[in-house]
Amino acid sequence: MKTAKGTVFRYGDNVDTDVIIPARYLNTTDAGELAKHCMEDIDKEFASKVKAGDIIVADKNFGCGSSREHAPIAIKASGVSCVIARSFARIFYRNSINIGLPIIECDEAADAIKNGDVVSIDFDTGIITDETTGSSFKGQAFPPFMQKIIDSEGLINYINSK
């Protein structure tokens, strides 16, 4: 069973790819290097505070803007185990699935979860639990085709396995 558990970093609407990883760092493709600057322009302390397993929770249209896969790569390399948002911009959504960064759309979780809460996620059931408050929420399930890509841990493994 796939699960995740960590402390929440809470953000608002329209977190764009320029604040997730500013273009001044796009002269490298090194995931570790990108992670050092992840969320820098919206939250200077993110990169130093984030621990393996931590979770980002945001409002609508997370990841809007550029097609840069460097954005989900930086988040994943930071150790983030899942991004929960009300909605995701479509290219970020694809990119996350394609590189195997778990993402979940869930309005109720976005309504209730606060910065610093400890949250756990059961990916098999889509159940998100705020362990700080004890509340649980059901995230939206992926269509079966996308779930196959996620289960293959990314698009390329999925194509190779066909």
């Binding site: 604040v19 500013p22 796009l26 249209n61 896969e69 989900p72 479509r90 290219i91 590189i99 190779n160």
Partner: protein, 423 residues
């Protein structure tokens, strides 16, 4: 069963299906896969993980180093070298080296690589630009680009659509940029999330190809999957000139196609429109714009670096001068546009007005180089995004506007509409 939208028809044809519906997952054949110097190196790395080596078709891949070229630093130079060596190794027909390159979304239509009916993916969010010619084209990331280069296919969730019925004729200084900023202001930066934006109506004949490229280009700024225009005489004329040997296919939406929403946009009522920091939806017209002093103007990018944009800017700057304390940076989007601007005397006009003219590059649009902003500086820019830190310091500000507003603002040193400097 209801009919299909124009976008759905192109997707169905490329998936070998008679009919598709919104929400359906399909696998479709690609006519072109695009990447640049930022996204291609990641894709090239991913491509190595495929069990099958090589690319699906060396003629159907376009590699355009344009973001940080001519190389801005050693790391950028290494990325470009990676793309160049990949292009040589795989004998990629459409690799555009410095000297031939331009900003990808201005260059590829000009080179005749994008025509009506095509299905195109590009590892750059503004790939939606080619919808101006009646293609279905959309931005994707590097892994999708790698898969597209390897297999010639991509998966799509068939989008529903919003219909924009365009009527009327725009006034003198109103252009495509004002149209799309007005629409984004109206529906918001996620107003078309996951959806097609289909532009139709009798008013389209009053929009030049360059206006349409600008409008389709910024569909992504409303969250759209693609923006698309019907193929009319103006589009056909453009393709005859730029792609005389490439076959195009005209698709039309069914009369009973279903749209999630429909809007009417009367071009005759539109005014010069500006998006304030830090979202493209923060739109204002000059009815409620106060004195906003500026430090820089950028005229260029995949949104507004085409010949019409330079002509409009030059018409306003001609015989006038950039205000003291303002840097005005003009970036023709391709070598051909640069040359044309030179032959028409526009470059002379810009330089005499106190602007600088750069070789084609995305440069300042994404805060790369050639016009990065310092703390608290303000820029009026014809580019497409005004996010926090997009063009430099995180407390700098970008005001998105048309070439006409940008040129007028350069002259006055504050956010200005054209009528403040010219009739």
């Amino acid at each position: 069963m209801s009919g299909m939208t124009m976008s759905q028809k192109i997707l169905a044809a490329h998936a070998g299906l008679d009919k598709v519906e919104a929400g359906q997952l399909i696998e479709a054949d690609l006519d072109l896969v695009l990447g640049n110097d930022i996204t291609s190196p990641v894709a090239i790395g991913e491509l190595k993980k495929f069990t099958k080596e090589g690319v699906f078709d060396k003629d159907k891949i376009a590699l355009v180093p344009d973001h940080f070229v001519p190389n801005k630093d050693i790391k950028s130079a290494e990325n470009c070298k990676c793309v160049r060596e990949f292009a040589i190794r795989n004998n990629i027909t459409n690799y555009f080296e410095v000297g031939k390159m331009g900003i990808e979304h201005a260059l590829l239509p000009e080179q005749g690589l994008t025509v009506a009916g095509d299905l195109i993916i590009g590892a750059d969010s503004h790939t939606c630009t080619y919808g101006a010619l009646g293609a279905f084209s959309t931005g994707i990331g590097s892994t999708d680009m790698a898969a597209g280069m390897a297999t010639g296919k991509a998966w799509f969730k068939v989008p529903s659509a919003i219909k924009f019925n365009i009527v009327g004729k725009p006034s003198k200084w109103v252009s495509g940029k004002d149209v799309i900023l007005h629409i984004i202001g109206m529906i918001g930066v996620d107003g078309a999330l996951y959806k097609s934006m289909e532009f139709v109506g009798e008013g389209i004949k009053n929009l030049t190809m360059d206006d349409r490229f600008t409008i389709a280009n910024m569909a992504i700024e409303a969250g759209g999957k693609n923006g698309i225009f019907p193929v009319d005489d103006i589009a056909i004329e453009y393709m005859k000139e730029h792609a005389p040997n490439k076959k195009y296919v005209v698709y039309e939406a069914d009369e009973d196609a279903v749209y999630d929403e429909e809007y009417t946009i009367d071009l005759s009522t539109l005014k010069s429109t500006v998006a304030y920091p830090h979202l493209p939806e923060n739109t204002h017209t000059f009815d409620d714009i106060e004195d906003i002093k500026i430090d820089q103007v950028v005229i260029g990018s995949c949104t507004n670096g085409r010949i019409d944009d330079l002509r409009i800017s030059a018409e306003i700057l001609n015989g006038r001068h950039v205000a003291d304390g303002v840097r005005c940076i003009v970036i023709p989007a391709t070598q051909k546009i640069y040359l044309q601007a030179m032959e028409e005397g526009l470059i002379k006009t810009f330089i005499e007005a106190g602007a600088i003219v750069s070789t084609p590059t995305c440069g300042p649009c994404l805060g790369g180089y050639m016009g990065v902003l310092a703390s608290k500086e303000r820029c009026v820019s014809t580019t497409n995004r005004n996010f926090v830190g997009r063009m430099g310091a995180i407390d700098s500000e970008i005001y998105l506007a048309s070439p006409a507003v940008a040129a007028a603002s350069a002259i006055t040193g504050k956010l200005s509409q054209p009528s403040e400097v010219i009739d």
